[in-house]
């Protein structure tokens, strides 16, 4: 069935009455006659006639009922994380999401508003951003945070560029223990700017006088906790900035990068109440020290007063941004991920002081329980002997990809194959979403797989 399409032509213009477009044929005729013309096509006369009204090879319109069925068919071919035990992390994490988040962020007043340029008409969004900046600063132990970036990867890449601006140096050092996707994105961002990218071993990061920054991940890509204190100090000795990409969930428990003196802290806000959603949309987190504020990319909401002395909020320090500074802006970023900054603000508030700690502890204890159980299986071991948070690497008796294939037949989503980095290594993630039964099912399945 196709939606009924009254095909009343206005001259050579067929009419399609969509439920998203109110104008009827009569109303169109009224508007056209106000313009003294008789068909819509005449409005497009500036388009060279040989290219006008090309054939458009798209499917026919669908009713909402048909759309639901079609999308339902596609969705059913995807395995959802909730459909069975899942132990995949590696930059996108399965955490509990309180239901108030979806209910609040889908309010039309939030989701269908534009970027809050018109401050008097956008106090809701602006106050949310100010709350977000406050909570991100507290989470990371930093002095200023912006209103958000695209995602964790681009946030880190922008931090590397910012470090080059601050230090006026043109080389960035990346610890080899950061996410390979982050390394790729930093390379893409740096390729055109004559910035050299160097991969270093964080146990001995030989930095030189040309190095703008050392880029670290905390916990690192494999889940382990780097010695931030020593690394930040070593970086500062060279006059470089310490840039740390930090999992916000871990901040419920671990000492902050700010405490260790990190200069720029970034992260992916996904674990803060945002669904894994096949990789996006997420929100990039970005915080730094007060002294670097004018080199920061992206928006900032500032508190001020109106002409009657009442407190209000505005986008501020906009002379850093593209719409004012154009090619000399600190970044080209414009639209980013405000709705998910809202989601993570609600998440941090709902979890609150206690809940953030509890979630972190649940992840910690469950992952350590899982690691100990797996390490006790014949053929399995833990090749890295360092403190970790919720992810860890297991050395498997055979190819992790083969093991994962057998696990998924049992409806268990295994970890990521990282054997390129660690022989027969599987990166497993255990969060509060994994019950003891899930973990025991994984352990039992692995014990059969050799």
């Amino acid at each position: 069935m196709t939606a009924t399409r009254p095909n009343t032509p206005i001259a050579n213009e067929g009419h399609f009455q969509s439920h998203y477009i109110p104008s009827t044929v009569d109303e169109q005729s009224e508007m056209l006659s106000a313009l003294g013309i008789d068909n819509i096509d005449q409005l497009f006369a500036d388009i060279p006639v040989e290219f006008r009204n090309p054939h458009l090879d798209l499917p026919a319109p669908l009713s909402e009922l048909e759309i639901q069925q079609e999308l339902g068919r596609m969705a059913s071919k995807n395995r959802a994380m909730g459909s069975g035990p899942s132990f995949l992390g590696a930059g996108s994490y399965n955490h509990f999401i309180p239901s108030i988040i979806k209910s609040l962020i889908t309010r039309g007043e939030f989701i269908t508003a534009y970027t809050p340029y018109q401050a008097e008409a956008s106090q809701g969004t602006l106050q949310v951003i100010y709350e977000f900046q406050t909570l991100i600063c507290n989470l990371y132990g930093m002095e200023v945070a912006n209103a958000g970036m695209y995602d964790g990867a681009t946030s880190l890449a922008e931090a590397a560029l910012m470090a080059c601006r601050v230090t006026k140096r043109e080389k960035v050092a990346l610890a080899d223990s950061i996410s390979p996707a982050y390394i790729d994105v930093i390379r893409t961002y740096c390729q055109s700017q004559d910035i050299a990218v160097e991969i270093v071993d964080p146990s001995n990061p030989a930095l030189g006088e040309e190095t703008a920054c050392l880029v670290l991940q905390y916990p690192n890509y494999f889940g382990y906790i780097e010695d931030l204190e020593a690394l930040v100090d070593a970086t500062h000795v060279q006059g470089a900035l310490a840039v740390v990409s930090c999992d916000p969930t871990a901040m419920g428990m671990l000492q902050t990068p700010g405490h260790y003196g990190a200069d720029i802290v970034t992260g992916d806000g996904q674990p803060l109440g945002i669904p894994v959603s096949y990789g996006g949309p997420y929100v990039g987190l970005f915080a730094t020290k007060q002294e670097y504020i004018r080199q920061m990319p992206s928006r900032l909401s500032g508190r001020t007063i109106d002409k009657n002395g009442k407190t209000g909020y505005v986008l501020t320090l906009q002379t850093r941004e593209q719409h004012i500074r154009r090619e000399r802006a600190t970044s080209n970023i414009c639209t980013n991920e405000a709705l998910y900054a809202l989601a993570s603000t609600i998440y941090m508030a709902a979890m609150g002081k206690q809940g953030m700690k509890q979630v972190a502890e649940l992840c910690y204890h469950k992952s350590h329980y899982a690691a100990a159980q797996i390490a006790s299986l014949p053929g399995y071991s833990l090749p890295i002997d360092k403190p970790f948070f919720q992810e860890f690497v297991v050395q498997c008796p055979s190819s992790p990809t083969d093991i994962n294939k057998k696990l998924i037949d049992l409806n268990i989503l295994g970890g990521l194959d990282v054997s390129e980095k660690i022989p027969d290594g599987m990166l497993l993630c255990v969060t509060e979403m994994n019950s003891k039964d899930d973990i025991d099912a994984l352990v039992a399945a692995l014990s059969e797989l050799k």
Partner: protein, 488 residues
């Protein structure tokens, strides 16, 4: 409407916080407690609010009521295409089969998602006439960066190392020069002629062996279709450059013309404008990049390819690399796919027809009342100037603020930069004629107020949660987070 008690939103969350309250109850630990790491690795305090669930819902609902939005107000913000955002699109994007799938899970278990992405690539390629598509870029400006890096990679692959300049019209959006600069180019500004088209003599003057390309917005940010567009593309191509298209304004052209046919080499689309995905108060968006087959090998990774009956991610042969952590803003892409399938071939074309009709109808009704610096048939938006009103003492900003009192969101102001006192108005196809008529009347009434009671206009808005804000103070003494000391 005034809210009382705890439903007032003035106090921030950390000021409302009451020790002991919780917003969420979590399950107990069901495994034996494990040894904790060295105490030195653990933090002492975490300053987050302590609030119950009802308080949170009341607070955030209260804040939402301080926003204008498409669902609550006509939002004719030029260049932003604030059209209706269908609810089914959100519902689908949040369904578990899309929202709960992990980006790294095996392709065999994500075939529905990959099929959707593959088909969306095809639709966007068909709509733009630029058949190769990457969905990995996360906003318009991000797509611009990707496209400009592709142009750079193309020239370098041809051994062409002297092409360092990119020419951009003076009417362009700020992201264009900012993106070109991030991609390592020197930006030269191109003048517009008195018709609002690219000045061809200015273009010829910069079209030499150092020109990497141009960035052209079509229709331009003046809301006009550049009648020289084919010649613009030819001049650039003859000089060995490439043409980048800023497709943020595609709402005007859907089904009317394909950018590829006109000579564009690479372009981005703003799905959060043209394809109705909600703007979210400043994102998420998505800025897919579409290009010719010639440039396809340079697209940002990953793209989706079909292999018999199944779909998989792949990396184009000479890809500029990855620009985002995973595969793009999937939830936004799901919404755009749903929208395109709902409207289909006939509906897609009726978007542009109705959007352009509404804009011209509005422009015509206001001609003479507000100055029209480029008085030609417009596309999806019309750019007025408040010069007439300025002579009588009210600026474009003041008129825009006064519109808020009439219950309409303000137009885009002071952009494009080449129009004095610019008021850029985009009604979109999803607004009724009644709303557009009421808006026209409001602008006519405000013009009269400028004559009769200028102070009323110049002190506007009078009805919003706050009056005009002190932006200078905000910038001079940046207050960017709440701190306990600052509370008293």
């Amino acid at each position: 409407m005034q809210q009382g008690g705890n439903r007032q939103t003035e106090k921030l969350m950390l000021e409302r916080s009451v020790p002991g309250r919780v917003g969420v109850v979590l399950p107990d630990l069901d495994v034996p407690a494990q040894p904790l790491p060295d105490n030195a690795l653990l933090r002492d305090d975490l300053a987050l609010p302590e609030l119950s669930e009802p308080e949170l819902v009341q607070y955030f609902t209260g804040l939402s009521l301080k926003n204008f939005s498409i669902d609550t107000h006509f939002y004719p913000l030029g260049s932003c295409t604030m059209k209706y955002n269908p609810k089914i699109n959100d519902e689908v994007a949040f369904s578990p089969g899309f929202a709960s799938i992990h980006p790294m899970q095996p392709a065999e278990h994500s075939q529905g998602a990959l099929e959707l992405l593959h088909k969306l690539q095809g639709f966007l390629g068909e709509i733009t006439g630029l058949p190769a598509v990457s969905l990995a870029t996360l906003a318009g400006a991000h797509g611009e960066l990707g496209g400009m890096l592709m142009i750079r990679a193309h020239h370098l692959a041809n051994g062409d190392t002297t092409r360092t300049k990119v020419a951009i019209p003076d009417s362009a959006h700020g992201t264009n020069p900012a993106s070109a600069a991030m991609a390592g180019f020197d930006v030269v500004e191109l003048a517009s002629d008195e018709q609002g088209n690219v000045d061809l003599n200015a273009l010829r003057a910069v079209s030499g062996p150092d020109l990497a390309g141009v960035m052209i917005t079509l229709p331009s940010t003046l809301g006009l279709f550049d009648t020289h567009i084919v010649e613009v593309c030819n001049i650039v191509h003859e000089a060995g450059g490439l043409v980048y298209g800023d497709g943020a304004n595609m709402n005007a052209l859907l089904g009317r013309v394909k950018l590829g046919d006109l000579g564009f080499d690479v372009a981005h689309l703003n799905l959060h404008k043209t394809f109705s995905t909600p703007h979210g108060g400043g994102g998420p968006g998505a800025g897919p990049v579409c290009c010719t087959n010639q440039l396809a090998p340079y697209l940002a990774a990953p793209i989706v390819s079909q292999n018999g009956d199944s779909y998989e991610f792949s990396t184009p042969a000479k890809s500029i690399g990855k620009l985002s952590g995973f595969h793009g803003n999937f939830g936004v892409l799901v919404r755009a796919y749903t929208y395109i399938r709902t409207l289909g071939d006939a509906g897609i074309k009726s978007i542009s027809g109705n959007a352009v009709l509404s804009a011209n109808y509005m422009m015509n009704a206001l001609r003479g009342v507000y100055h029209l610096p480029f008085d030609r048939t417009c596309m999806h938006e019309a750019v007025f100037s408040a010069d007439f009103q300025k002579e009588r003492g009210s600026s474009g900003l003041e008129i825009a603020k006064r519109l808020l009192d009439y219950g309409f969101h303000a137009p885009t102001m002071y952009f494009p930069l080449i129009v004095h006192e610019a008021l850029m108005i985009e009604p979109t196809e999803s607004e009724t004629k009644e709303t557009i008529d009421a808006f026209i009347q409001a602008l006519i009434d405000i013009d009269q107020e400028v004559t009769d009671d200028k102070d009323l206009v110049n002190n506007a808005p009078h009805t919003t949660p706050v009056a005009r804000l002190d932006e200078a103070k905000a910038a001079r003494q940046p207050d960017l987070r709440w701190q306990p000391e600052a509370a008293d």
